[in-house]
Symmetry: C2
Subunit: 129 residues, 2 copies
């Protein structure tokens, strides 16, 4: 499909799709006329990338961890060098930290919202101003 359709289907902009390509996040074919020609699978991939960006990861990091996340999950044996493994372990651990932090904040907000709703109910019943 062409860039306009993919942009619409992923709720992004053509500009961003070109940017992700430039950053090495997606691979894109070209038609004879020079237009970008996107594979159907890119719809999911772009959604995935957007999620990761939205979660605060940089394109640099996403580029590094993306190979692990391909669905067929074919292991690239050549990648099993110690420093690549170390890099991935680092990303894995920092992801865990980030998750823990987000979880703490999520829980705090949830608790606060709970109290607030409780309180709103109480006010509604007790102080019918």
């Amino acid at each position: 499909m062409r860039i306009g359709e993919l942009a619409e289907r992923t709720a992004t902009s053509p500009r961003l799709l070109r940017y992700y390509e430039e950053q090495g996040l997606i691979r894109v074919d070209r038609s004879a006329n020079g237009y970008r020609d996107y594979d159907e699978a890119l719809v999911d991939q772009v959604a995935h990338i957007r999620g990761l960006l939205d979660a605060g990861l940089s394109t640099r990091i996403i580029r590094q961890i993306l190979p692990c996340l391909n669905e067929p999950s074919e292991i690239h044996f050549a990648d099993a060098t110690p420093d690549i493994i170390a890099t991935l372990e680092g990303h894995r651990d920092r992801l865990a930290e980030r998750i823990a932090l987000l979880t703490r904040n999520h829980d705090a907000i949830a608790e606060y919202v709970g109290s607030l709703k409780q309180c709103a109910l109480g006010v509604e019943r007790a102080v019918p101003a």
Copy 2:
């Protein structure tokens, strides 16, 4: 305490502490000479803010959810308007989505790294080139 000390204790920079103040994230007193005078509690608060920023939240959002996160957790009853509650629920839910997404990715990376290490071991044993 003064800005230098707080910067050091929170591993930030004076510049950022001024910025957080400017963004309405922290409240800061002034000494007679015009110097900022930070309360002890700011150490934790700034750490908290840094965590949220690091987790990908913007100062605008942080400003909104910060009141819920104060340690004494004194509920601001006046805040219990339906739209504020809705906003908070929105943040809470989007946080939950992010956590789910990051968790999936964390697990995928962990699994991939596991396979990679396994594979590295195998190669080491099987192909002592």
